[in-house]
């Protein structure tokens, strides 16, 4: 054996493999273990994390108060227009409203050391209804879903002047129910990340000129992730739906995410 490179090559060749049957059995065991942990301790962790730090407490309270004030019928303004009016800043809040999806309640908070990002999630969702009427409504507004990103999802950019109308439409349907799921605060130039338990994750970077650059990752099963870059201008929102894969059957569960960025005055 001549030199160190020969050793490295040999080590790569003399490698172990794993038994596929055992792989499957252990994965199944891990999944069962995850089910057991889902119910225990997460809510307790949230309370401990929120309450141990006074700044976290303040931010959490502020977010909750704004949510209560914000859920009112709109007439073309942003969700929290009465708070945001004409305020510009480097601070962006992203609201993700998840519609019609049954997921377990999940509570999670993470605070970065420099306090530049606060992430709060709460999942509480309801069963679905027909989606085709929403698509017809959007088409009538000149908004079409795009499907290039992934075969498992569709997305559409909702301009700011249509957002209020969309919200009114959704709120007028008794079978839809809107719940705040995630709220992320991030400063200009700093990225924030959102993730859901149903295959979509978003990295967002707000800029001073009130645009928001998003990298949206759609999980494509075994193929991994498709990442699509989307730019939102001030007030626009992003609507993501996963019903593309179930085109020919009526889904009993449809997932929609409405991601609404808002520029607020920096605290």
């Amino acid at each position: 054996m001549k030199n160190a490179d020969d050793i490295k090559r040999f080590m790569k060749k003399a490698s172990v493999r794993s038994n596929p049957n055992v792989n499957k059995a252990i994965l199944s065991e891990l999944t069962d273990e995850m089910e057991k942990t889902k119910q225990s301790g997460i809510s307790l962790n949230l309370r401990r994390i929120i309450m141990k730090n006074p700044i976290t407490k303040f931010v959490t309270i502020a977010i909750m108060v704004i949510i209560v004030l914000g859920f009112v019928p709109l007439n073309g303004t942003n969700v929290f227009g009465h708070l945001v009016n004409n305020l510009t800043s480097t601070l962006t809040r992203l609201r993700v409203l998840v519609l019609n999806e049954k997921v377990p309640d999940v509570e999670y908070v993470e605070e970065q050391v420099d306090k530049s990002i606060k992430i709060l999630t709460s999942g509480k969702l309801y069963s679905s209804s027909e989606i085709s009427s929403l698509e017809e409504f959007l088409n009538a507004q000149g908004i079409n879903f795009l499907t290039e990103a992934s075969k498992n999802a569709k997305y559409a950019t909702i301009p700011s002047d249509k957002l209020g109308i969309l919200k009114v439409f959704l709120e007028s349907r008794s079978d839809y129910n809107l719940e705040m799921v995630m709220s992320v605060l991030s400063f200009a130039g700093q990225e924030a990340m959102l993730a859901t338990s149903f295959g979509v994750a978003v990295k967002a970077v707000p800029y001073e000129n009130k645009t928001l650059n998003l990298d949206v990752a759609f999980h494509d099963g075994q193929a991994g992730f498709e990442i699509t870059k989307i730019k939102l201008n001030n007030g626009a929102a992003l609507l993501i739906s996963d019903f593309a894969i179930r085109q020919n059957e009526k889904p009993d569960k449809i997932m929609l995410i409405l991601l609404i960025p808002e520029m607020v005055r920096e605290q």
Binding site: K8, F10, R17, N23, A25, L27, L30, A217
Partner: protein, 181 residues
């Protein structure tokens, strides 16, 4: 890397697909590391199994600070070190009482599948000092960077690189004539 961050996010939010993604991505590397460090397949299988179980159980408190792979590999290495310690302790008692490690999990099939070359390599690795073996295995088979290995061993990067050089050189001597490429 973004994909790992996304996987961890989804995993922490209860996604079984994300758990499967992490498991599929890193399982074989961890098995390879454990098998090479210990040269004891059933112990290696148990250790990797325990690392994943612990990862799932501590899901809510887990924070991804750097590399997910390095985090999981650290779990494997720490458990391997405990195994060495226990084995040494047992071997000093009485020769007749040397413990043969019994797997905590009874599997009808073996998880790790090796070949003759693997066995020759692992036998040779056992003749290296523990620290050198760790660096050689983690760098060559785990593809960890020296900086990551240095953090794990609580030494400088230069020391880790030096251990690697000595380890590879000794391996070359041990394997010379026994195998060919």
């Amino acid at each position: 890397m973004l994909e790992d961050r996304i996987l961890v996010w989804r995993f922490k939010n209860g996604s079984k697909e994300a758990l499967a993604g992490i498991y599929e991505k890193y399982r074989d590397d961890l098995l390879r590391i454990a098998a090479s460090l210990l040269n004891h397949n059933s112990a290696a299988e148990d250790i990797v199994h325990d690392v994943f179980i612990s990862f799932v159980r501590n899901r809510s408190s887990f924070v991804l600070k750097s590399s997910l792979k390095a985090y999981l590999a650290t779990g494997v290495v720490n458990r391997c070190r405990s195994f060495y310690t226990q084995k040494e302790r047992n071997s000093t008692i009485e020769n007749e009482q040397i413990e043969t490690f019994e797997s905590g999990h009874q599997r009808p099939e073996q998880w790790i599948i090796t070949n003759e070359q693997t066995q020759i390599l692992n036998d040779a690795l056992q003749l290296l000092p523990d620290e050198q073996r760790e660096v050689v295995v983690l760098h060559t088979q785990g593809n960890l960077r020296f900086r990551q290995i240095a953090n794990l061993q609580a030494v400088s990067t230069k020391t880790a690189q030096s251990r690697y050089r000595y380890g590879i050189e000794k391996l070359r001597t041990l394997l010379n004539g026994k195998v060919s490429l």
